[in-house]
């Protein structure tokens, strides 16, 4: 007996979701390997200071209550 149309549709969908899951996992692995290759982990001490610049430098409190 051939499966009902709905069942064969779900077999296909399951395959699609499985592939989507693989893409998900693959993208995470790629992102992690990219960040290692591009030197994201080379000097974390320096990179933690990347949010500061000449306009908003390290060591200066940047926000206060208005008076």
């Amino acid at each position: 007996m051939s499966p009902a149309p709905a069942e064969s549709f779900w077999d296909l969908s399951l395959l699609g979701i499985f592939l989507l899951g693989l893409v998900f996992l693959g993208s995470a692995i790629w992102a992690l390997s990219w960040s290692r290759r591009s030197g994201q982990f080379d000097d974390l001490e320096r990179d933690s200071r990347s949010i500061f610049d000449a306009d908003e430098p390290e060591g200066v409190v940047q926000d206060r209550f208005p008076q």
Partner: protein, 483 residues
């Protein structure tokens, strides 16, 4: 941590005094229209959504309150959830993520009309969705109650908005990708997939049986965990070190935190169905993932704790609207996440499931953590975009105390009562009517706490509108400080 004189600060941040705009001021200026648009939309939805929350809470002890069809408990409570989730949280996160991504990428926003177009579409579609819910056209699937025809429109609008964070990243002028950028990029990548799969498997081509429920909670929990939470955490990882002027305690740990977060969070949603008719191995996997979430949360907690504890930091935190709200949010991120891990244990869940404990936990995460952290972000961002100082320190204090007391009170009330409810139900000594009657004082307390939060939201919204009003005093410079 030095405290420069006010004149120094104003000179440094006064672009006109220097004759040309600083890099930061140029970026902020390019971001002004879309970020202000999303902020105002978010604030308006927050007020309306909170009012529906209070209406729902009142109905629990005065059932005949506003007794019309469109405001029955099932509808008003659903309106509350959808308005604060898709109206407030999403709009606020669009604003904060667009701003953070451009700031961190050192890139100016180009073609700002695209995210605004997406935002107009998003908000108009929400209005349609809310009227549909009020009219009884809801789907009955939690977190996806709006009729299914809104999904394609919301999806396209999301892409128009979310894409701009990705565009900012692709045009970055920096070599290092800061941890906040990782969180935001991941959120913008994850949500469309979650939304697409959930819509397809539940509303368009419904899967059969419990697979629908599994998909529902995979989506519902991940909309929080893989979209709202990462942007909240990204915001805290930026503003705490930024405002204090000192780098994060252990940047290494923050990277570990991101990757463990990405690995574990998406499995956890199944803990909503513990004890339900779904395969036990799936429930166990959900429990393991929920408990493993202790790792990224602990990492974040250690980092924030050691960044904010020093001899001078406390004064800076208490004296800064941004940090007062953000650190409050960070503390509650830790607490609510640990509570969530505990609630996923079978023995604990047997008591807390279906009780007010869960609702308290939801507000702990969505309000005490996320909403407070987003408030903190807005207190930093808006003055720099509007080039105006916040008009009233008193309103910020009022906003903080109303929300802080309201939200902590709510979580405490709901947790205590939820635990009592669970014990009463499990013991099967009292009748359901007796258990419901015993809830009455707790329901009053819930309304009071919810009202405090709502008042706080009204203060915030009014303050935002006052600040942006054309007649408000305009001051020079991209960043403003104590006068």
């Amino acid at each position: 941590m030095s405290s420069p004189s006010v004149q120094n600060i104003l000179n440094r941040h006064n672009p006109l005094a220097e004759g040309n705009l600083s890099r930061v001021a140029q970026i902020d200026r390019s971001l002004r229209s879309p970020v202000v648009f999303f902020t105002v939309m978010a604030a308006l939805w927050l007020v309306i959504g909170s009012i529906f929350g209070v209406i729902s809470a009142i109905k629990l002890h005065i059932p005949e309150f506003l007794n019309i069809e469109a405001l029955t408990f099932g509808r008003s409570r659903t309106l509350h959830l959808n308005m604060v989730a898709y109206g407030w949280s999403f709009n606020a996160i669009f604003a904060v993520s667009i701003w953070l991504m451009h700031r961190l990428s050192r890139a100016e926003l180009r073609n700002g009309w695209v995210p605004i177009l997406g935002g107009i579409g998003w908000n108009l579609t929400l209005v349609y969705g809310m009227f549909a819910i009020a009219g009884g056209q809801m789907t009955g699937v939690e977190w996806l109650e709006m009729p299914r025809e809104v999904a394609p429109v919301l999806g396209v609008c999301f892409l128009l908005i979310g894409l701009w964070s990705v565009v900012a990243f692709s045009r970055r002028q920096t070599t290092h990708v800061y941890v906040s950028q990782w969180y935001i990029l991941a959120a913008m990548f994850w949500l469309p997939i979650l939304y697409l799969v959930a819509q397809m498997m539940i509303l368009w081509f419904p899967a059969r049986g419990t697979v629908q429920a599994i998909t529902n909670w995979w989506f519902g929990h991940n909309a929080i965990g893989l979209f709202l939470t990462p942007v909240g955490v990204a915001s805290m990882y930026y503003f705490i070190p930024k405002v204090l002027g000192r780098p994060i305690h252990s940047y290494y740990l923050s990277v570990v935190g991101f990757w463990t977060f990405a690995l574990f969070y998406n499995w956890a949603g199944i803990h909503h169905l513990l004890g339900g008719p779904v395969p036990v191995w799936l429930q166990s996997a959900g429990i393991v993932a929920s408990v493993m979430m202790v790792i990224p949360v602990l990492v974040t907690a250690i980092n924030f704790h050691y960044t904010t504890t020093s001899s001078q930091a406390w004064g800076a935190i208490w004296g800064s609207p941004t940090l007062r709200f953000t650190v409050f949010g960070a503390m509650n991120y830790t607490l609510s996440s640990f509570a969530g891990s505990l609630m996923a244990l079978r023995d604990v869940n047997a008591v807390t499931h279906f009780t007010n404990f869960t609702i308290g936990h939801a507000h702990h995460g969505m309000h005490a953590f996320l909403t407070m952290a987003l408030f903190g972000a807005f207190y930093f961002i808006l003055p720099r975009l509007a080039q105006r100082e916040w008009p009233s320190a008193a309103m910020i204090h009022l906003h903080f105390w109303l929300c802080a007391i309201g939200t902590i009170g709510y979580v405490v009330v709901m947790s205590i009562h939820g635990w009592m409810q669970g014990m009463q139900w499990n013991a099967a000594v009292m009748t359901p009517a007796q258990i419901a009657a015993a809830a009455e004082p707790w329901n009053y307390a819930r309304t009071i706490c919810g009202s405090l939060m709502t008042l706080g939201h009204i203060v915030f919204c009014a303050h935002v509108l006052w600040m942006l009003a054309p007649r408000a005093e305009k001051r020079q410079g991209p960043t403003l400080f104590a006068r």
